[in-house]
Symmetry: C2
Subunit: 772 residues, 2 copies
Amino acid sequence: MSELENSEQPAAAFSSELKGATNGGQDSCESPDNMKDVSLRFDLAAVYVSDAQHNRNITFDASPPSVRLYLIYNHWMLHVLVYVFILVDLALALFEEPALIPLPVWATSMIELICLVAFAVRLAHFAKVVPRRIFLRDPKNICIIVIITLCLLDMIIYGALKVSGNYAVRWSRVLRPLLLVNVTEGRQLRRAFRSIRNALPQILVLFFLFMFSVLIFSLMALKLMGKRNLETIEGAPYFTNYLDIVFDLYVLVTTANSPDIMMPAYNYSSFFALFFILYIVINTYTFMSVFLAVVYNNYKKYLKEEVRQLVRAKRQKMCHAFSLLKEGGEEPVVSKAHWNRLVRLVQPDITNAHRELLWNVSDHHNRGHIGKVAFVQLADLLNIQVITLKSRAHPLHTWIPAIYESAVSKLICRMVRHRMFVYLYDAIILVNAVFIGLDEEDPVVSSAEWFFLTLYVLEILLKLYTFEPRTFFARHHFWNWFDTIIIVSALLATVINAALKSSGGYTSRQILDIVFILRVLRLIRVVDSIQRFRAIINTLIKIGPLMLTFGQLILVVYYIFAMVGMELFKGKVQFFSADSPDPAREYCGNALLKDTLFARNNYCKNNFNDVVSSFVLLLELTVVNQWHDILRDVTHVSARIFFVLFHIVVVIIIMNIFVAFILEAFIIEYIVEKNDLQTSLEKKIEELNLCVEQDHLDGNLVDAMETQDNDMGPADTPSTKPTIMFKISSKRYSTMDGLLQRMFETGTDLSAEVIADTSEDMNFSNPSFSPA
Amino acid sequence: MSELENSEQPAAAFSSELKGATNGGQDSCESPDNMKDVSLRFDLAAVYVSDAQHNRNITFDASPPSVRLYLIYNHWMLHVLVYVFILVDLALALFEEPALIPLPVWATSMIELICLVAFAVRLAHFAKVVPRRIFLRDPKNICIIVIITLCLLDMIIYGALKVSGNYAVRWSRVLRPLLLVNVTEGRQLRRAFRSIRNALPQILVLFFLFMFSVLIFSLMALKLMGKRNLETIEGAPYFTNYLDIVFDLYVLVTTANSPDIMMPAYNYSSFFALFFILYIVINTYTFMSVFLAVVYNNYKKYLKEEVRQLVRAKRQKMCHAFSLLKEGGEEPVVSKAHWNRLVRLVQPDITNAHRELLWNVSDHHNRGHIGKVAFVQLADLLNIQVITLKSRAHPLHTWIPAIYESAVSKLICRMVRHRMFVYLYDAIILVNAVFIGLDEEDPVVSSAEWFFLTLYVLEILLKLYTFEPRTFFARHHFWNWFDTIIIVSALLATVINAALKSSGGYTSRQILDIVFILRVLRLIRVVDSIQRFRAIINTLIKIGPLMLTFGQLILVVYYIFAMVGMELFKGKVQFFSADSPDPAREYCGNALLKDTLFARNNYCKNNFNDVVSSFVLLLELTVVNQWHDILRDVTHVSARIFFVLFHIVVVIIIMNIFVAFILEAFIIEYIVEKNDLQTSLEKKIEELNLCVEQDHLDGNLVDAMETQDNDMGPADTPSTKPTIMFKISSKRYSTMDGLLQRMFETGTDLSAEVIADTSEDMNFSNPSFSPA
């Protein structure tokens, strides 16, 4: 909400800056009169481009000191620092009452105070960057101020109450995760919450209808079975209390108590099975699917609108940058020199070759300058990750050419490059898998382990011999890195373990665990050899980083529920380790739990006694199974409200959004071809004969980085090819926005529409912006 | 497959018929020379139109006797008869060993023989209709022949073995549900199976990857926890056998054994929770969502292609009909007279007014004849359900006008029509709900029941007084019918119950059950008063009939698994009723089950001892919870294969298709506006000032039929309006094809493309047809 509303501001800020720098005038941007002004102009343009590239929507004051402060504000170190402070603040729950590792109250309070100060400083910094009017209109800033104030207040009250010996609750702890949502960096998270908020009305209507259905079925169950004197397995009366029936049938929707809840009635008469079948078909299958449909549909619809606005804001920022740099009369253009200077400012680490390539793509006709439409593309072009491959000769080739060029050496290289080499090692891995499965205490098996380790090390060495090492370890060669790290760690861990064993006969369980995990992880590599598996794996890897937003979403919700749960239920259940002689172990230290399923199933560790246990418990509730058992015996019946609320929020809403996201992302990955911009870049690369061979790369799904045997082709035949090669690897989206944009740009005429939009109002005096 | 391949045949058949009737010649269709020929021509055209209307794709022989046989073949009575025979055949499982109601073998065999004869006769009839070459090329005919032969063979072998006293298995029973798939009428079901088959390769690849992940995790679990001497709650060793781990972790994917499977490791060390969390996130959440994505995507893609072919085949049939009836020179047309005759042949029960309306829509410009494009629309126009509302005066108005027109009478009518009347009865229903919840043996409550019944009867009488009875009970007034039936049945049942009670003091439990169910059902009506609920309910009702296909799909799969399961597992577990003194009751009559969870939870009735129990058990397995318990204790470990197979087929594939269908249908219902054709019809109705008021009908979701207060408007003011009104009620799709077509026509240029397609090859000599 706030970002989108604010994004109309840059234009105003920009024009005010222009006035300030050149004392007004329409033609001011065409005739800069001193070097400092030009430099400022470029700095400002670079900030706009960078903001467009990273989809930042902060309305900063365009005066030079503010711009400098803004650049500092956006420094990645500060972003990291903010998240570190948030993490520390959240992690305090580990040390506060009820604590996993108890620390004195003054210690945790001090740390919290430091965190709060850090947030306040960060906010003050932001206030310096942003015009005051906008700062105060932005709800997220208000939120942070309120959170900090409440936290301080709570700390003081808590301290005072504790000192005077009263009972006190740290209620402000539930507010902590909200910081994650309201910091400037939490854009994705805010968007996720907004999307939930927008879907809420429809979800609520559906939920009421669903509850109506549950209530009607419960009434029917009461009337049909309540008078038949049936009993549950535990001997309790079956279906006699209306509210209990409602709860039981609600649980049945989650399938957690199926078929137990049905058995008494079913045993009495087979006809009653019909009642439950009907119930499950209507409520579990149909309604739950409709929930998914509503969430999925709203999610798509809402995000589409958000992305449209994002794209619009991005183009607008690029247009600002363009107006700052434009030259020429009726059709303004940007010269190559200016463009180069700008790109170097925006991305200092860009290689010259890469920059040239981008210029070539922008300037189709080699005119030496580009117009507005081509200029606006820059932000997207910079987002396409182009890998510059420099073909280098192998170091051994330089050092000992005689030996490296010998027949034997060439034979080795040919062997390693051969397909059979891959198959051979796949076979070895499979045999290895069998050996891992065997008992490792058998001497044959443990010596075989050494044999396999040697084989793997040999493989890496051979590859390093054949391929140029710097190419082999290029940043995008995921599986090479994976292999090497796993093998080297396994080697180290195995050696340490063997050394410990031979020295004192003592085996560290932890090191052995690590050895085992590394051994098993090695097997994963087989997947990469099978083309069709690789396609799916790559899609999953691509979606992976984007799931971080969901991780944060879940974290926020879990944290709030954990804090509330700990205050409500801490200490109700005790966990005793298996060798404890305490008789209370039998009933989890709570006499109420004697002879219940909860105690019998050894669920004592499912409690709210510390934040880690709480999180595990909440995860179990998310998985849903047995949740009625987990909660039934713990506390008073009214606690059900807490658990049902959790179920509605997490399982019905958030998990459905998760499924909706996977569904959409996966379908897009399967369906969508590369978007146009990317293709034009690729075309250019091909035109310039700068691309690597693409034999085995089947366009859509297989990422270039996994086909090793083709990748290092250039090293082999350096004479026939140019020494610099490009490859596009933008299939891995660095930001959520990237995927989202691609999700919704495809199949719609979104970008065309936006271009039309922005080229209409050329002077940007009053960009009309519809709020979400 | 077969239908689509065959659909290119009508053209050929048609031309051969032309030759047979008129001894060849190009201009034969322009100059029919005798009445019989013209009549034949109309019959044939009517058959084509009817086939197009119902999406039938049978290639029949176009000779007059064949056409007559074909008309008989398509008679609805024969369709019903076929399904009755299939049902009887399937129901035989109730009476055969292991039987719910045992019948002698000779009796069931006789019934089965009759059914088989019926299927053979039906097939022979089909063979007469269809050219021999096509008949034998059609896999579904071959299937039926094979099934009938195998069933006969099995009956003979079984009889012989039984007579000679040997052990015999009725293995052919698994083939029975395949008849449902292969009869001509099972088009939707075949399509569902084809869509599954097409998705299978992708699903299998994903499944292998998923299994690979499970295997890797299992290996890790074995290595990490196998040596730690942990124990499950039942005291068994924990995670020591690889295959057991694989199975346990597979079950964890279904969440059925969560959190039990985790507890021993978690109790040992909290760190192990990480392992399970990772496992659940990757396998349960991510992989299962990806399964849904793959199924959903394939389902959509494949159905789109099918619908495209369906639409093409439909247009082609309409073009055949057109060529049969066309007149005129260079631009052939069909005259109104011919068109009228055709429509009356196709749909004899159509009203004149309705037919005129359709003609007006087709013939925009009132030229008295229509061209090909307008003619082709006919099939779709006929599928739009137009309700002809004749505004009639209330019978009381005719009989006793003086009283009915009196001030009191008018006041009553105004009251009943008022919004408050609806609200009043909603309030009454809610109060009634409370009374239903109370103990019905309380005399106050039971007399209150009489009071409420009287109120409801009064409501219906008042409405009948106000509204014209025939309009009130029109076919499309769902809620009026619902109310009346529920109230009248409740009245009857309550009276019978009271009579029984007062006569002998005896209360029939069955009648009481019915009374209770009817009372509770009455409450559902409240939903209809709330606009937003009504929208969802209507969508569900609309999707409802289409779910029948899924019902059949599930039936086929369940039946096959039930038959196999009964042969494998019958009699392993016995159920004893609660008052049985037999000590074997404690362990379900199977000594192996002593002291197991299965027996303790009273699961004895979950067995394969008869077909009803089997179906209930399979439903429990579909719901998934506790399925490992249900199967673990029953039989040998190898039985797991049966259950895992069931899980893969039903839960992973079919349930996902179900979710995909709901998802798609619901989204379409929310998004899609009425399609163009329908809108043009509506426009025409409006143009002709023949439509009823649409004040409260908000276009997309609310079906006209539920808004009673507007519906009967015409009866009130007959003078100012024409006496015939039309209303489109095609929102309820009579066929799956209708919804599917709408699903995929919208947003694509499908129909345009098809029209372009068919108008290119105007003479249809060789329609090019791409196989699916």
